[in-house]
Symmetry: C2
Subunit: 221 residues, 2 copies
């Protein structure tokens, strides 16, 4: 039974890893759709989101079966609970990529972003996608140091996000209110996407070390 | 042991109920701080948020202990897992109330909101607080019908939130970009707060009926 248990736990980790890659790809495509006003790419992200939702439901079912049939304790129990949280965070990351894609679709064929702020979004997208890929690595490796780099990379997203506000709040912002509203929401989506990656990383640190690196608000607005 | 188990589960439900009331109070105060530019009320919400974080950590510890020591199955297992999710959602609701309070503090003594949009926020605040209180009722009663009214009340918040966008996007919006950015973010905070209440309600429906009323994106942007 212990043997079967570890095989199932391994499968759960594989599924979470696959989800991380799914949401990394979704955010990569959504960002390209946003920056290049690419409607078909946006549509693809929008229709693929159901797969992320299914993957999450499947992970939860697996975790539920593990708990019910194997009644794990100690680190094994922590691992299963971390997996449940990870699945939730990853699904939310998928939703946020979906929101970016929907914004691209809503304004198509117009670009959503004024030229001046596009580099910020290109960078937040790049870092966000990198974070999701690091999450996949952390899920498989349980590498605490790699999990910690996710936290520091998130600081980069927070910095860009904060800077975006100074750009928006500048009295000289020439792009009007509608563009400011879009930029505000989109900035928030990228920031939350990165926050969720951090949240998964923290859970993994908890699994390995038994210590949770701090609760509380993980977004900085 | 089964007896002890149900006593512990009852305590966990009590703690979640208390958290619901904490975050209802937080949002009530944060909304008043926002509408009345009341700095001391905003400060109170900000300093009280740590208590919500502690309550969440405590709920998770209780749930963890229940799983490790009692190895529940079937409905009991579902209930404990729903409790873990509920604690997470409630903590997030506390964070969102915190964000509202911080916005009120950031602009003090200036009001954050232009006069014209204040009624929308008064209403979103009122409905949000009512939802959090209904969550408390649902946690204790496991009343599926009450859980369903949370979903329909959330539609009200979504409607106001959508309407807010049409107000913002109006070419005649006379309040400038900075106010539009604040209104955009604050609207999102209220909408997410209500979404999390729905998420807890859905989990409770799952506990009672064994059927999850739909995954996927629960916010409508």
């Amino acid at each position: 039974m212990r043997e079967a248990y570890h095989v199932e736990l391994e499968q759960l980790a594989d599924n979470l890893g696959a989800m991380s890659i799914q949401v990394a790809d979704a955010m990569e495509r959504a960002t390209r759709a946003l920056l290049e006003a690419d409607l078909s790419l946006a549509e693809q992200v929008i229709s693929d989101d159901a797969k992320v939702d299914d993957a999450r439901a499947q992970c939860e079912e697996q975790a539920y079966a593990l708990l019910a049939l194997q009644a794990p304790v100690a680190t094994d129990l922590r691992t299963v609970l971390a997996a449940i949280h990870a699945a939730e965070s990853l699904e939310r990351m998928g939703d946020l990529a979906l929101h970016v894609a929907k914004a691209a679709r809503r304004r198509h064929p117009e670009p959503v972003l004024p030229e001046a702020v596009r580099p910020y979004f290109a960078e937040m997208g790049e870092v966000g996608v990198r974070l999701a890929r690091q999450v996949e690595h952390v899920i498989h490796s349980k590498d605490v140091e790699a999990a910690k780099t996710i936290e520091s990379d998130d600081d980069q997203v927070d910095d860009i996000h904060r800077h975006l506000f100074t750009v928006l709040m500048d009295r000289e912002w020439p792009h009007g209110v509608a563009a400011a509203v879009d930029v505000t929401l989109l900035g928030r989506f990228y920031e939350r996407y990165a926050d969720h990656a951090v949240s998964v990383a923290k859970r993994m640190i908890f699994v390995v070390t038994g210590k949770m690196p701090g609760y509380g608000s993980d977004d900085d607005i």
